[in-house]
């Protein structure tokens, strides 16, 4: 009968179509060298910040025309938040997460991988022309997921500062406590503002001087006055006695006092030195009127 005839023809064509598709995949992965992330290695998220290569995220040269770009995903930014990479070289992106699952999609390329705590992800890509690409976190990772992004800039010529260990990393921004415990920082507002932007604070808090408009946590443009007022509130039960202490406590142990009307969603900082926290505190006091 006619219908069985059509049935056989349709199913055979369908099977052929699927086989052709599989053939194309075989060609893409073997012939055209398009590789997926595989099983590269493991790392303990509890110590990832002190484990190489994630202790120093950024770009390093590993061969004549080969580079490694190490990226650490954390709530809610990428470290480093901006990477400059050379055009025409093989760049191996290596990433992991310090906390929850994040995504890493470099828009306009085929670099697309998950950052899963405990696992190391890796993909190699060659940029053919100069240009700027967003790094987008495309997996839900908590309250400020939509503000988690970074940038990759492909450039014709790298400059000295683009490589790790050559002065661009914040760890070497010259912020430290001297032997008498005094904070040493040339430009507290400038460095503090940069920290505010690169450490993910701006994703949740608004602060006009840092060009930040996050609305998940309380606004910080009046934080000095607010802090002074809050420590006198009956609802405040923790131990800070000055606005400085209150802001420091809010950064280090965010759950100590949760401002009414906002979620208890702020992660404790995991990659800030004591000196950097102090710079943030002083910057916030300075730009909010004290």
């Amino acid at each position: 009968m006619k219908v069985e005839h059509f049935e056989k023809a349709f199913l055979s064509l369908g099977a052929l179509l699927l086989l052709a598709g599989l053939g194309a995949l075989l060609y893409g992965s073997i012939g055209a060298h398009i590789h997926l992330p595989g099983n590269v290695g493991q790392v303990d998220p509890a110590v990832v910040r002190t484990t190489a290569p994630f202790d120093q995220p950024g770009l390093r040269q590993v061969g004549p025309n080969e580079y490694e770009a190490v990226i650490l995903g954390q709530t809610w930014n990428f470290l480093p938040s901006e990477l400059r990479v050379p055009v025409g070289a093989d760049v191996r992106f290596i990433g992991t997460s310090a906390d929850v699952i994040h995504g890493l999609n470099i828009e306009g390329t085929r670099v697309n991988m998950m950052l899963i705590p405990g696992q190391i992800s890796s993909m190699t890509y060659r940029f053919d022309e100069p240009g700027e690409h967003l790094i987008i976190c495309h997996e839900y990772c908590g309250a400020a997921h939509h503000s988690m992004f970074g940038r990759v800039v492909a450039v014709n010529q790298l400059t000295e500062g683009d490589l790790v260990g050559s002065g661009s990393a914040l760890a070497e921004s010259g912020v430290y406590f001297d032997s008498e415990g005094n904070l040493v920082c040339e430009d507290i507002v400038g460095t503090g503002t940069e920290l505010f932007q690169t450490q993910g604070c701006a994703g949740c808090h608004s602060l006009p001087s840092a060009n930040a408009s996050g609305n998940i946590g309380p606004p910080l443009d009046q934080v000095a006055a607010n802090a002074a007022q809050r420590i006198t509130d009956a609802s405040y039960t923790s131990s800070a006695e000055t606005p400085d202490d209150y802001i420091r406590e809010s950064i280090m142990t965010p759950a100590a006092h949760v401002v009414d009307g906002y979620p208890n969603a702020m992660p404790a900082p995991q990659s800030l030195s004591d000196a950097e926290v102090e710079v943030l505190v002083q910057m916030l006091l300075a730009v909010s009127g004290q």
Partner: protein
């Protein structure tokens, strides 16, 4: 042109007792209510992609992601499993002319209600904004995980009910082939039972003890892998009940016949075998899984596309037979002669049309290397709103248009509005998916509060706008559906409802010789499925057990 849904006269004189009908009815109401509850935030999401932020009009929501969790849980989980828990037992009961086991029917219903109450509590108090995928180490309140487990257990009880009914019938009919409708209903939930075991291990073994503080840490990749072990097959658990309707009921509604009894059984067996060992195609971009294992799952995923191709042929052939029987002539003339005035049939034909695009985009997702372009971009929700979001969703809407009248004894209220609901929804979902897909190709992420994203790109404007327009139409379509169903239940004309389910005859009925009868041995085929699953998954588990318990919980929303 007749507008009502065709029914057959009862050949055995069997009618489901009123008490059992009532439980089935309330099970369905839970699902359809969940559908409507979930689309409000669906509207907010679609508009957010269009840079219109209406979240402030949802004062009871604390965040976008709380609403997104509601949308996923209600529309993908509660709607689908409530429907299946009512529909599949009804199908087997009617096909075999056997009563269901009342105690199990009630147990399944009560578990579903309890599960819903717990999940409702966890989500509305903002203690579970982890989305329906619940990826660890995001950690929800225990009530969220326990609630979802109860919903899954309710599906197991429904399956047990079906198995007992089947065995009773088999005892009285030892030498007869099981009727097709009963067979495919049973095969659907048997597949789901196998598929649900990995997520049960994940929730019972890790996430629940962890959320209760009994263990401190979990293995994120292991739990994610267990999720997708279930997670691709869960899609087929949503789809197969819709296929039951397309194969066994729609032909009658269109005035045609089911094409081939044997091919239909073969298709369901292929789904039983191939739905589960394919989960790594959701993890192509994951670290910690070798590319070789991913390739094996890619091939099997292409394999599971085959039964859907066969379905496309069978279902369209049945429709064509219907259109020609009603006087359709020429190559395509039969399409015009289909009973387009039947709201139930129209919704399901439109569901099939959108599924063509859902299937094609799905094949692209499964394509190993191509997946790198679209993984976790808005392309993905563009795709699955043409599968679960319309092939399944619209079929469930269409089935409601005869099933609610059948179970309540009331005539469908507002046929015009019912027809409008599926047309408006279909036009909406096609515009929506066009927007989501194109913006996704340009890198727009999924699951993201795009109206507040600081990195928003103007190249997403067109896609976002189409998403907003399409999503608004989809929302309207579901609101129309809600009005029709509520009005039918409350003020539908009594006594003018269909008296039986619209089951179909087959052009080529069951045969008793050759290999075809062996298709009926679901138990044996389930064992074959287990072997395939072991081949596809055990290499990964062997090298990843014992679990690496490394991640504490994060509740950061």
């Amino acid at each position: 042109m007749s507008a009502g849904t065709a029914t057959v006269f009862d050949p055995t004189g069997f009618e489901l007792p009123d008490g059992q009908r009532r439980v089935l009815r309330w099970t369905l109401y839970i699902g359809y209510f969940a559908l409507v509850a979930g689309v409000f935030h669906g509207l907010a999401q679609a508009l957010s992609y269009a840079q219109i932020d209406i979240l402030k009009y949802f004062p009871f929501l604390e965040s976008y992601y709380q609403g997104l969790t509601v949308h996923g849980v209600t529309n993908a989980l509660i709607l689908t499993f409530s429907f299946s828990n009512a529909f599949l037992p009804l199908m087997i009961s009617r096909a075999l002319s056997q009563k269901l086991v009342s105690s199990l029917l009630w147990t399944s219903f009560i578990l579903m209600v309890l599960g819903n109450v717990l999940v409702f509590y966890a989500v509305t108090t903002n203690q579970a904004s982890v989305l329906y995928t619940a990826y660890a180490p995001l950690q929800a309140h225990w009530s969220f995980y326990v609630g979802l487990v109860l919903i899954v257990v309710s599906t197991w009880v429904a399956l047990l009910n079906m198995i007992i009914v089947y065995r009773r019938w088999r005892g009285a009919h030892p030498d007869v082939r099981v009727p097709l409708l009963a067979f495919i209903s049973l095969a659907s939930y048997a597949m789901w039972f196998l598929a649900s075991l990995p997520i049960a291990v994940s929730f019972l073994g890790f996430l629940i003890p962890w959320s209760l503080g009994l263990i401190d840490k979990v293995d994120p990749l292991l739990n994610r892998t267990l999720f997708w072990f279930t997670g691709h097959a869960i899609v087929y658990a949503w789809l197969l009940p819709a296929y039951v309707s397309w194969y066994a009921l729609v032909p009658r509604q269109a005035g045609g016949k089911l094409m081939s009894d044997t091919l239909t059984r073969f298709v369901f067996i292929l789904f039983l075998l191939l739905s589960i060992p394919t989960g790594f195609h959701h993890q192509y971009t994951d670290p910690g899984i070798s590319t070789g294992m991913k390739a094996v799952h890619a091939v099997l995923t292409f394999g599971v596309f085959f039964p859907s191709l066969a379905t496309a042929f069978s279902v369209v052939a049945a429709l064509e037979m219907g259109g020609r029987a009603r006087g359709g002539r020429g190559l395509l003339g039969w399409i015009r002669r289909l009973p387009w005035g039947d709201a139930s049939l129209t919704a399901q034909i439109l569901a099939m049309v959108t599924f063509v695009f859902g299937g094609i985009t799905g094949l692209i997702n499964a394509s190993y290397t191509l997946n790198l372009v679209i993984h976790n971009t808005s392309w993905i929700p563009g795709h699955f709103h043409m599968t679960v979001g319309s092939a399944v969703g619209l079929t469930l809407v269409g089935v409601a248009y005869w099933l609610i009248p059948y179970l309540t004894g009331r005539q469908l209220w507002g046929r015009g509005l019912a027809l409008a609901s599926s047309w408006v929804y279909t036009i909406g979902v096609l515009i929506f998916a066009r927007g989501m897909s194109s913006a996704g190709l340009e890198g727009m992420p999924r699951r993201t509060y795009m109206a507040q994203a600081p990195y928003y790109q103007s190249q997403w404007d067109l896609g976002g706008m189409l998403t907003g327009i399409g999503g608004t139409l989809m929302f309207l379509g579901i609101i129309f559906f809600f009005i029709v169903i509520v009005a039918t239940i409350l003020v539908g004309k009594k006594g003018a409802a269909p008296k039986d389910i619209p089951w179909s005859e087959s052009l080529h009925g069951p045969v008793s010789e050759g290999w075809a009868p062996r298709l009926d041995r679901i138990g044996v085929w389930s064992l074959v499925a287990v072997v395939l699953i072991l081949i596809a998954y055990s290499p990964w588990f062997v090298s990843n057990l014992p679990p690496r318990l490394i991640s504490p919980g994060f509740s950061i929303w």
